[in-house]
């Protein structure tokens, strides 16, 4: 043989086994595409959300705060959104179609970052102007509050005395005169004035109802503590979750509380959340099925940024530029200008035609992705509210950028809002992988444990069902779990044909899952 070149030459020289070995070692001509990061607790790489996605002054402040505190800009962006909602909710609503379907501007954001990531510093920097505004308002109203309180005290004392006189009186005519005097006192008593409050850090459901009544049907919770979830989970109500007021205040539906010793009638409540918590808290929250089943968890916009801990430069100290913080504060104060103490009718902002089209395109895209078997099916309760959230954020952006006199939400505000909520989808997927957990999630986790336990780069559905037949009595349930893992970029499905038999359904496993 002159110069061996092909498999036949190889067989003659080294035998058929060498040929078989060569074929077995065949390599893909095109290297397989890089697997994306699987969406599993602690493994998903969520995109950073840059501060420039926010309107001018707000973005500048969020960026400066992130830079100064050396924290992920995503956290500052999320808390800035909540701050903006706190300033504007209840006073404005967005009507995408210009009719009676409106989205209030209340917004719930939750940023999950481990302990020691300067969450408090970020909240303090962004909510600082609210504290100053509350103090200014308190100071401005101090005289008026003192006058009204003293007048009310006098009137109350006088009524007490009149009641005593009436009880002692034996003459009907005299008693009727005293009753009329009490009525005059009651009618003449000035309404109580309370210093305005914009936000709280921790509140019970009952106190929240009272705060909503006192504060013009609006309140916000800006906090880096998880106490609010403990309250919701029933810390003060014998372990019975108490979340109705929170749910109603997100949607803006009327609250009617008529209990012995407590009444609250709130027609159009607005509650915003700006929370920055430890991821572990999210896992604890997941323990309450009521939270997810009621849609409470679906109301939050989640951010799961990568922690900067371990990558910060301790020598670097960059204060927030005075110009930026002053601009931020004055812009916020402008938004709070003429803020009525008592609730009135919210002003409705319609969307321009192009803005509505842009919003509807996004809403349709989400609708097409979160149905049965869709890419976003596992978080469909969350995505069901995403188009509404985009409309709310667009309204907030428009008001922040153009001021309180704006009449319509523009296309650019909607585009920016849509861009932002798109970025939030992987964050939500990462958050819900911590939050868990519908039945398919639990099944998917079990399948994943089996894959990792047996360290399989590839397997057939039949193998999996056989190995887990105790759990999966029927195929539908297993298929659902495998689909879920495929959506989480853990698996890729493919078919392998069989001689004289139907093809096998097989799965390739993301190597990043096996390496952990």
């Amino acid at each position: 043989m002159a110069k061996p070149t092909d498999a036949n030459d190889l067989a003659i020289l080294e035998g058929l086994d060498a040929v078989k070995e060569m074929v077995d070692k065949a390599v893909p001509a095109v290297p397989p595409p890089e697997w994306p990061d699987p969406i599993l607790p602690g493994m998903a790489q969520t995109p950073e959300i840059s501060a420039d996605i926010l309107p001018t002054w707000l973005g500048a402040m969020a960026g400066a705060v992130a830079d100064s505190t050396q924290t992920p800009p995503t956290m500052a962006v999320m808390l800035s959104l909540s701050v903006l909602a706190t300033a504007l909710h209840r006073r404005f609503e967005v009507a995408p179609f210009g009719d009676d379907y409106t989205e209030p501007l209340a917004l719930w954001t939750l940023t999950a970052l481990p302990s020691g990531t300067r969450k408090t510093a970020v909240i303090n920097a962004l909510a600082g102007p609210f504290l100053r505004w509350e103090k200014l308002e308190r100071d401005r109203l101090r005289g008026e509050i003192a006058r009204v309180n003293s007048a009310r005290l006098v009137a109350k004392k006088r009524i007490e005395r009149l009641l005593s006189d009436a009880a002692k009186s034996k003459d009907d005519e005299e008693r009727e005169g005293i009753r009329a005097a009490i009525q005059r006192e009651e009618e003449g008593m000035p309404a109580e004035i309370l210093a305005p409050r914009l936000f709280t850090g921790d509140v019970t459901a009952e106190r929240l109802q009272a705060l909503l009544v006192e504060q013009g049907e609006r309140m916000a919770v800006l906090s880096d503590e998880a106490g609010i979830f403990q309250v919701m989970a029933g810390l003060y109500s014998g372990g019975n979750a108490s979340i109705d007021v929170f749910l109603q205040a997100h949607a803006g539906t009327a609250i009617r509380v008529d209990r012995a010793g407590r009444m609250a009638h709130i027609d159009r409540p607005a509650l915003s959340f700006g929370l920055a918590l430890q991821p572990g808290v999210l896992s604890e929250v997941a323990a309450s099925r009521r939270f997810r089943d009621s849609g409470l968890l679906a109301r939050f916009l989640y951010a799961m940024p990568q922690s900067n801990v371990g990558r910060r430069d301790v020598r670097r100290h960059v204060p927030i530029p005075e110009r930026i913080s002053a601009d931020y504060e004055s812009s916020l104060f402008n938004l709070l200008r003429d803020r009525p103490a008592q609730p009135g009718k919210a002003r409705v902002l319609a969307m321009t035609d192009p803005a509505r089209e842009c919003w509807l395109d996004f809403a349709q895209e989400i609708e097409d992705s979160h149905g049965e078997g869709g890419r976003l099916e596992s978080i469909s309760d969350w995505t069901s509210k995403l188009a509404g959230a985009a409309a709310r954020i667009a309204g907030l952006f428009e008001l922040a950028e153009m001021g309180l006199t704006v009449e319509e939400v523009s296309q650019s505000a909607v585009e920016r809002a849509v861009k932002l909520v798109r970025l939030l989808i992987p964050h939500a997927q990462a958050a819900f992988s911590l939050l868990g957990t519908d039945a398919a999630d639990n099944d998917a986790a079990a399948v994943l444990r089996w894959i990792q336990g047996s360290n399989r780069p590839e397997f057939t559905r039949r193998d999996c069902q056989k190995a887990m037949e105790g759990r999966f009595r029927n195929l539908d349930r297993l298929v659902k779990a495998l689909e879920r893992l495929a959506h989480q970029d853990v698996l890729q499905e493919f078919k392998r044909s069989n001689k004289g038999a139907p093809p096998s359904t097989c799965y390739r496993v993301n190597p990043k899952v096996l390496s952990t």
Partner: protein
């Protein structure tokens, strides 16, 4: 034509507007795979190509004199006419070759493993036939239609039926289950089938690996295709490996390359 790699063995006599066939240098004697059409007016234009490789080229004499719109229109019509003539000629030639292939295949008798070529290559006759002293291998398209035949003489000399379609045609050994191997010649394909039991397609030349791979990918979209290269390490550019890799890439397939030990390193 020389620059395009289609140098005629002997310069053919060209008639204005008529298709003329010729033997390309390097092709077997008696073959007439090359073709050329020349138009002398208004500007000399030639179109030429090879039915073996499927390629075609155009040539035009450069001139400083700009063509008038009428001349340009006339030339475009001539080119279209030449293309039509060529297509008709090719179609007729393919049909003739197919009919001949059918006829010869039907008269050929089943081949045994005793054929000198098979003995030399140490492979059996998988579905081959014998016509006089030559092994006959059918070349079919993916839809199973017979297009042409390859003849292998006792000395190993290989010839195709003149004018038959080779591009995209192959000879299949075995039935595919999950994987399908592609190789160049029959002996390689038969060896692979014997060694692995996997269905194998002989594609007859490295240039035909990619057309066959594409045809098989269209027919079996889920099958794992493994292109087994001829490792022409002693030929400049290693055409066997280059073409095999291109074929495997084109269909998202796998590539296997024989490596030889010691002095036989390929």
């Amino acid at each position: 034509m020389c620059a395009a790699g289609l140098e005629p063995v002997k310069l053919p006599e060209l008639y204005d507007g008529q298709l003329v066939r010729f033997r390309v240098a390097g092709d077997k004697s008696g073959s007439r795979n090359g073709w050329v059409v020349l138009h002398r007016h208004p500007e000399p234009v030639g179109i030429f190509g090879s039915w073996k490789t499927g390629e075609s080229h155009a040539w035009r004499m450069t001139s400083d004199r700009p063509m008038s719109p009428e001349d340009r229109a006339r030339q475009r019509a001539q080119i279209l006419q030449a293309q039509k003539v060529r297509a008709e000629a090719e179609s007729q030639m393919r049909a003739d070759s197919k009919a001949r292939a059918e006829r010869l295949w039907n008269v050929a008798r089943p081949a045994s493993n005793d054929h000198p070529y098979l003995k030399a290559k140490q492979v059996p006759a998988y579905g081959l036939r014998l016509l006089r002293e030559s092994l006959v291998i059918p070349l079919r398209s993916a839809d199973g239609e017979l297009h042409t035949l390859q003849f292998i003489g006792p000395d190993g000399e290989k010839r195709f039926l003149t004018g038959g379609r080779v591009v995209g045609c192959y000879f299949a050994i075995g039935r595919p289950s999950d994987s399908l191997l592609l190789a160049e010649g029959y002996a390689t394909a038969a060896t692979l089938f014997a060694a692995t039991g996997m269905a194998t397609a002989a594609c007859f030349n490295c240039g035909n690996l990619e057309p066959v791979a594409r045809a098989l990918r269209a027919k079996f979209p889920r099958l794992r295709l493994v292109v087994v290269a001829d490792n022409d390490a002693f030929t400049e550019g290693n055409p066997g490996l280059t073409k095999a890799r291109a074929a495997a890439r084109a269909v998202g397939g796998f590539l296997a390359v024989p490596q030889f030990k010691g002095g036989h390193r390929g």
